[in-house]
Subunit: 226 residues, 8 copies
């Protein structure tokens, strides 16, 4: 019996593909999953893959993995870039330090065929930085907003936009904001309706939700057995 | 100077109207807001309006308010039912006790012209109850899911649906789940991508987000000054 | 031995007078303090005096107390209004529900001879409400900002003003923001330097700090024995 | 006086043997315990034995210890495999990352003479994975279920099985589920009666409890002095 | 559509019957459930039914409900006492204050046909009280232990018994033990293997788990569709 | 598009300059910011710059950075010492261990042209240490007080001084005071009005606030566009 | 079987008598205990006896109970005042609001034959209030110190006294100090060795500990069976 | 100005000497303190001195420091063993892992001239281990008890002894007991009066308190100026 069960049907069933969350897995476990995916001819997204863990993987897998150390993501047998750009999703960050999470979101979107621009470092401590870009941001149909510290960006954006805002609190901070709970609580407590939240640093989940939101306008998926 | 600033432009700016959160306001403060809204000819939604507070309002306002004690919502000068049903949003609850929050969501949707069916008491402790309704739920383009206790419904739904799931943790519970933090943490920690969360008991916010999601498929709104 | 020791020298020593925090005191304890203060010819400020507790006080004290139920403050033998207005301190609130805390701050300032205007309900979910008043707010030398929920107002103000901002998180909120810890953590985690915080709902402390800040420009007080 | 008191009577008294929790012990302390156990002719189970600590043990002990780095367990003078298989206990995990905890449970069971199969990676985000194995799981008389993240598996299993479910929340997760408290709270808050919980990552305790449960059907143990 | 879905098949499927957790339900909701159960000829257990809520129920239901205010439980159309006593489960409490929770457990057991004696007030601050009854307790095949405050009883019992101990932390306490989290953490952190825990004050869940444990010795249940 | 937006106008707008919080940034990100600042001819303050990260920076930047490892601060192109000393701000610490935070505050003040003396190790466990220096401390117009552990210094100072006290809780401590939350809660809960708090270890923020307080005595700043 | 087991031997075994903690008991439970104690001819101390609960007791017990509503304590068949005063223990409080807890301690001491003076309202925000009484306090051999809010009194006292200080954090406070956890953490984190803590509001426990401390100087008690 | 102020008068003033808590100090800071103490001819106790930090100290200090790596304590110019043994204080630990904390307590006592035996590994999961030593423990006049995990030892001891029990919760544990908060809450919530607590892992503070308790029987110390 293998130690894992790959859910290759998830993309058809739920609209987004399964990813391998590597944070608590050993290199041997990840190697086994990669081997199975390769054998099945499936491209796979890996998240939370630390550089040390990446280095410890079977060298045979290194060549087939495109690895990005900042976002700690890798893709096995990454498909060629999408022929047709799919606009509609934008990513904004409060600070430069949030770019690792933004990268996880952007890489997840690209894995699903979406190109999303990143607008970085527009936190509200210098409101002009946000206002200078607000018209550009208003053009997105869904916005992924990433902020640590006090997470005030979520509320200001939510009050200015008619698009749904998917808030990703980041673990950027120290003292009471260390770990991201303060930013998360800000996202959840916002006075601005239309803001929804995912887990701290969960760029992957935000990207998946953004894809589903964009598709919510299309025809309903056909039912399937569980 | 009045004690409040009504944001009647919010609907145009962000797609959903401002509501009056009554929980921490005195009857006198609410009466003043109602008078101003009535004078401006604006219909207004009130949330978290406890029966005792409702009773203490100016009797002149009672006649113009449609009040629902279970969801603790009221609408001033509620418009007639929408001529054209706007399907696409469904509300599901894990238990009967979650119906107060479901009511807040449904009333908010109706205030904005959306009719949303409520499918109640399908928590996963009796999985057949959910599976019996799953085809019906799959027809929604956005699902608002409400659960307290351990909030396992969010993950099961997220794994079965291709629609975005807006999780509303409810404060239904006791011991470690009292207050709703356990259900909230379940929503945020879910293994099923595509699930997003709002604050505990925030039926209003979930409804607003659902409306924005449905509209995300349409043309982008025109920019406006802040 | 009495059950209390009044510190009438505090105003001379620290620049602000002692107040009687009534929240955990019995009416009999408060009555004894009032009697002692009256006998000493001292005006006294009472905070957190609930209406029920106020009603239970010795009727003889009622006539000498000016009581405000919204802010739950009272003043014994309140002095006449200050002859010379002392501008410089402004109070802003994110919502109407924060006016109880604003009242505690304003009453404390008035007790010390300062008149402070209150600018209410300018939270950032409708940024135009804040921007419409920002020039007026920029004229203050110290700003007391009161916000519950996610407390995003603190950061936006801190990024726009050159005056120190004393953030008072309020307990206005529900779910993760119930009790005010989310707003407090936002105030403390703010990216905008120049923002300092006091305890949740502590309008009294914010007012005292604002007075000390204004006086920090004057000559240093003469040392005294402890 | 030695620094430890070995409780070799525990197996007779309570039905399960004492284990040495190595997490906070120095190699010298563990070596002393091993020497005493070896001298007494007792087989001993060690848990939470990190590879670095294992390497630092007296080399004389290495030969007599069977060490498993994934589960961080070792057995001194491990007895030969049990002659008669003792079915009845099954172990299921939500994810591959939970296998370290599953290993601790399985090794503890084997130390007591029980062979328990592990069914891995059947978390509810892909409900078909669980449903595909449910008949197999229904054959167990006690189920040890291990899940991190949001721990939804506990409730779904509890609603499908007539066997007691011993939930072991794992520390697998990040953000609000980091450390395992979210999964633990899910186990405790479950709507499905029949689910009981042990401490986070406590595979050892779950295995001991499962053994006691299986034996609860037999004759009551004879009383002994404390 | 009714607001509830009764799961009358749960007893067959999982071995214990569904109960109605009344804490967050309105009298009208409970009345509707009772009417449906009565019509279906099903006896039903109600938990967390406060006296005020009980009084507000339809008087027609009062006659068919056996209500116990201490444990806040009621049974609709309670069946006659079981013809054959089913020994094996014992309930022990650390203090007199824990009897409300003990009552919920005992009533749940009786509803399922089990008679369980309650041994009260044997907390370890007076160890002789426990030691005086220990032989009696050793005769049970499963022990439900209820304790608030620091919950030391769980560990002492777990070290003395060969039966599984189901720990129910109670909310009895003040200061750091208010609400029961200290007792719960003691149950989970216990050094004595064989102790498992349920949610704070969850006498119902402990009783259901005890029943399943007793039955775990019998033949495995036949599989059923979910 | 660069990954950052430098806010060189902040000093003019808010009275204090932007600093680069390095804790969550990569050396490459910091190098890019330094290059941009150097090109713009701007001096820049860096905080939370760990020695390892400092070493990993572009060697070309090392020569232009004055780095202090205890306070983990660096200044790019540090200006010559201010010609005119600007007294008025004093820094006091409860212990020697708080000097790292004191250093961050002192370096921030110096970056803005203020010379602030540090009075170290006068915590209240030896009250004579504080009383011996109290006259010296009374001469400051603003006091930055830094304390970890239980933070009792804040209240004692607040009761003795007429200057505003900016409390900086430090993360010095262990057990319940590990991380600084106990000291922070002491600062916020103080009985001494006039004490305000910033985030744990936030010497930078305290220094900025102290500067604004000193300037609050001057003419109000001219309004600017956001 | 009664619902309680009175431990009349505790005084002989541990030096202090058992008390009845009434907070979670029903009047009927308390009445039964009182009846048993009266029949055994034992005086009994009751703590946390709210006025409403006291009123609901059997009127026959009222005459034999000396009840103090501020400290919520009562004594059944209180013995006459001790013939010989037993000095050595002093009680000090930071504020007037702490007198309820001080009363519980003083009543407990009196029940055991100790007369303890209470020195009230000497918190450190006005340090002179403490210094004025410090010589008097230095004469005690054990000091019970009670403080809420930030609990700075514990550290200042601990640094000035050579007697052991038993800190009782009180629940007096609001915001971050509501419930007493901030004061408790201050007591535990104190820099002043010699300070020990009991639970929040636990005047009873502090009194018992003070008695044991005083007796620790005498001959060791004779061993007894558990 | 040096960075520290040594309080050599503390022993005379409070009965116990100051110790240098090294956890957050740099080697350079510790070296400076040691040099000053050596010059003043004072013996000094250092706590929380990690091996790496000890190695980094000035080699000139190594010869004069007696260092114990398990308890992480060192003494500069340790005096010869006390001529006259001072019995009365005993140290007991629940497990072998608690010996590091026990060592800190024992070394602190020895530094003050007290010899205290350590009775290790008598936690209540094997109650016979405690009962076998209870007569020996009853001979102590003060007992320092150290336990991690669930800390049940504190309550059992408190119910058996007439001596004051100073509970030291240790950080030994994992899951909900990681860090020691569960053990601390058990100590504070104990049903056994006479138990007092110090901070987690605070062997030093427990030893100081034990010394004060023993001395509380002697003549009161003469007052001194603060």
């Amino acid at each position: 019996m293998p130690d894992f069960v790959l859910d290759f049907g998830r993309r058809a069933r739920t609209g987004t593909a399964e990813a391998i969350l590597c944070g608590h897995k050993t290199p041997a476990q990840i190697d086994a999953i990669l081997a199975a995916a390769a054998q099945a001819g499936q491209s796979v997204l890996l998240t939370r893959l630390d550089p040390a863990c990446f280095s410890a993987l079977d060298p045979a897998h290194h060549a087939r993995l495109s690895y990005d150390p900042l976002s700690r993501t890798a893709v096995l047998d990454e498909p060629a870039a999408p022929a047709v750009p799919q606009p509609g999703i934008g990513i904004v960050t409060a600070g430069t330090s949030d770019l690792a999470v933004a990268g996880e979101a952007a890489r997840t979107l690209r894995f699903h065929g979406f190109d999303a621009p990143v607008i970085a470092d527009i936190g509200v401590a210098g409101l002009w930085r946000l206002m200078e870009r607000i018209e550009e941001i208003r053009r997105f149909r869904v916005v992924i907003a990433i902020a640590g510290m006090e997470g005030a960006l979520f509320s200001v954006l939510g009050g200015l936009l008619a698009a749904p805002v998917i808030a990703v609190p980041s673990s950027v901070g120290y003292g009471v904001s260390a770990g991201g709970r303060a930013a998360l609580d800000s996202a959840l407590s916002t006075c601005a309706p239309g803001v929804v939240a995912v887990n701290i640093d969960n760029g992957f989940g935000a990207a998946c939700a953004a894809i589903l939101v964009l598709r919510a306008g299309g025809p309903a998926p056909q039912p399937q057995a569980p």
